[in-house]
Symmetry: C2
Subunit: 415 residues, 2 copies
């Protein structure tokens, strides 16, 4: 059974056909959530789903589910899916790959006349990207109970248009209740990072999602003229801040391989060439797979802030304020599903490795309500959210084969 294989050419053709809707001159896609183009994309894919004999339902937040009956339809479905909305200058594979790999799994089972024990479903989650409406990962978030249906429906875009109205306008304001029991959830996705390519592996066995802590840090010293102020009399906010910026990186390095540390935004006040900075605000992003280690990273960062504040670090006491902005707990995926993915990759002879996801995915929300795993395939130079996003047909085919094998194994294990 596990050597059953999907049709790589058909998968690729479906990806290219969907990518023709909202295609950009640079080879990418602009198909923002709940626009007319998103509606056209949904129509195209649900047409394929119906043509494959799947029963399509739409829930109240516009999530689409295409179901293939099993032998025992009382069992909760083994589900796969992702999203087909894109960033304003997005690529052809982010999200679409997961949906169309799921469809290809269904088509393949049709081709071979195979029925699984548990029913199978392919989901298209509404507004994963969050480019037009927040919150991001809206459809899966409501499905998993992370936020309320009304929160999602009343969200507005910059033009003031509401999600509820835009769903209706494209014909995807469904009536199915949002959320129900899912037996297992798999999601295939391009990695959106450089690891598989760097390691030369085809399949990433995703063991979980990094937790993150976001902070805004403000260091305040004393603004003064760069010329007349001798070094020992300065309270240079930027000088103190640079030690904290470096400590963010050092912490992440010391918590390898799953630690991440990033300072992405720096604002200097008053921002004049010949004025010693009086205040610096910067963002900090710390991530780890393990909640205990993430807490240790947090503690070490706060200790570094205290050492800058009391003058230990630079010799000049500075005011340091650390504001917590966001916390997402690390999300470990389900061991039995991870095992299916790993075994399928091995059985098919695909080079593979364990990997974590640092980016957000619908799977991370679904993991809160169902056993979940993900399958990564390489993307060129690790680049995503970009029109030049690219992936190799043979890698996409390999990932879909792993998805096929893992879903079938899980659906039959449900017996």
């Amino acid at each position: 059974m596990s050597m059953l294989a999907i049709n790589g050419e058909r998968l690729w053709q479906s990806l290219m056909d969907l990518a023709a809707i909202g295609a950009t001159p640079k080879g990418g896609n602009a198909r923002l959530a709940l626009t007319a183009l998103d509606g056209q994309g949904r129509d195209l894919v649900t047409g394929w789903m119906r043509a494959a004999g799947l029963s399509v339902t739409v829930d109240q937040v516009g999530n689409i589910f295409a179901r293939r009956a099993g032998r025992n339809n009382a069992l909760a479905p083994v589900m796969t899916g992702s999203h087909i909305d894109t960033q304003p200058t997005g690529g052809k594979f982010d999200g679409c790959y997961g949906v169309l790999a799921g469809l290809e799994v269904m088509r393949t089972l049709n081709d071979h006349g195979i029925t699984t024990e548990a029913p199978l479903e392919v989901a298209i989650w509404t507004n994963e990207e969050g480019s037009r409406f927040v919150p991001v990962m809206m459809g899966s978030g409501v499905f998993a109970g992370v936020f309320a249906l009304q929160t999602a429906l009343s969200a507005t875009d910059v033009a003031g248009k509401r999600v509820a109205d835009e769903l209706a306008a494209i014909g995807y304001a469904g009536d199915a209740e949002v959320g129900r029991k899912v037996g297992a959830y798999f999601e295939a996705h391009i990695e959106q990072g450089p690891v598989l390519e760097a390691e030369g592996n085809v399949i990433g066995v995703v063991t979980g999602s990094l937790g993150l802590r976001w902070y805004d840090v403000t260091v305040t010293g004393m603004e003064a003229h760069a010329g007349p102020t001798p070094m020992p009399l300065r309270m240079d906010a930027l000088y103190g801040a640079t030690f904290l910026m470096q400590e963010v990186i050092r912490i992440a390095n010391d918590f390898a391989p799953h630690g991440r540390g990033t300072v992405g935004v720096v604002k200097v006040h008053p921002s004049s060439r010949n004025v010693i900075p009086g205040a610096v605000t910067f963002t900090v992003d710390l991530r780890h797979l393990d909640p205990v280690r993430l807490a240790a990273m947090d503690a070490r960062f706060r200790a570094a802030c205290a050492a800058v504040a009391d003058g230990t670090t630079t010799g000049a006491a500075l005011d340091v304020v650390v504001q917590d902005v966001q916390y997402f707990a690390p999300t470990p995926f389900a061991p039995e599903l991870i095992r299916h993915v790993r075994q399928e990759a091995a059985a098919r002879g695909y080079s593979h490795q364990d990997i974590v996801t640092g980016a957000g995915h619908d799977a991370v929300y679904i993991a809160g309500v169902a056993p979940t795993a993900m399958i990564f395939v390489p993307c060129k130079d690790g680049i995503s959210h970009n029109e030049i996003e690219d992936a190799k047909p043979e890698h996409l085919e390999a990932g879909a084969n792993v998805l096929l094998g893992a879903m079938v194994a899980q659906a039959n294990a449900s017996a």
Copy 2:
């Protein structure tokens, strides 16, 4: 002769009277160069000059000279002066103190019926601040031949108004040729820095002006997502840049006491919380009193840039481009004039110290064409270019007494 003393109350009253023109609600001054308010300020001070029996001339760039005849009027004058234009939210003392201390010297000599060997002059230099028209230090710069008269006269403000027309509008488009021989130049000024206050001294004997080198530095790495990109695969432009920002400070510390190093502006691209910075541009300001040491600071900074570029510093090679923006050579002041200032401070029992100026002053340009020295007095918290700029009457009086003694000594030494 050296115990001759100025009238501190009269000096203070003149400062306050001038400060009433363009007074701001927060206690500062807004009397931008060549505005109607600057014209009113010039009228007030030249009125005082004429009342003190001084002969007033105005040159083609609007510089004002008030001359008190000596016994030998063939000698080049011993001059003092400064400016009375202010920043948009400037203080009452920056510049005005130097002009009115000079006037007070003249009034005091009148009071005592003293005639010096060489003639004395008080100068009011046009547009020192550069807030409305660039170049900054315009009047003294043209006088010293640093830039051409036509460059100054054709400079425009943001409304497109020309210096030449604005000079005429306020009645200060003079006809005297710009530039002539000056026997010696003294300038009294508030320190605009924190050194005298920190050291508890009343008089700063200014031995010279720091030279400076300005750079724009751009570090380029690779922009990537903060979550999916493991630390060893990153090319974090900001991380590399922080080492250079710190090296600027370390270099200045290692070239104490006259080294200065400041990073005042930092721009991060793309400036998103969860994106590893792909490029960082920041400004560098290095200063020193000694040209050889300033060159050594420059060499050390460039070596640090090279070490970041080749990956020695962070392990990741980054592109580093250093662009030279400005160079001002260090300006040592005239030893014999410095000696007059130091001797006067000592003879009058004022606590004093040698000091350098890191800020630009008209004296720095005049030093290129005449023996020059400056006298600093403390200002509160080292704050200037600010409406809360403040100075103590007794310090202003002390500085004017030193100016009086130094000018008389120099004028009589000319015999």
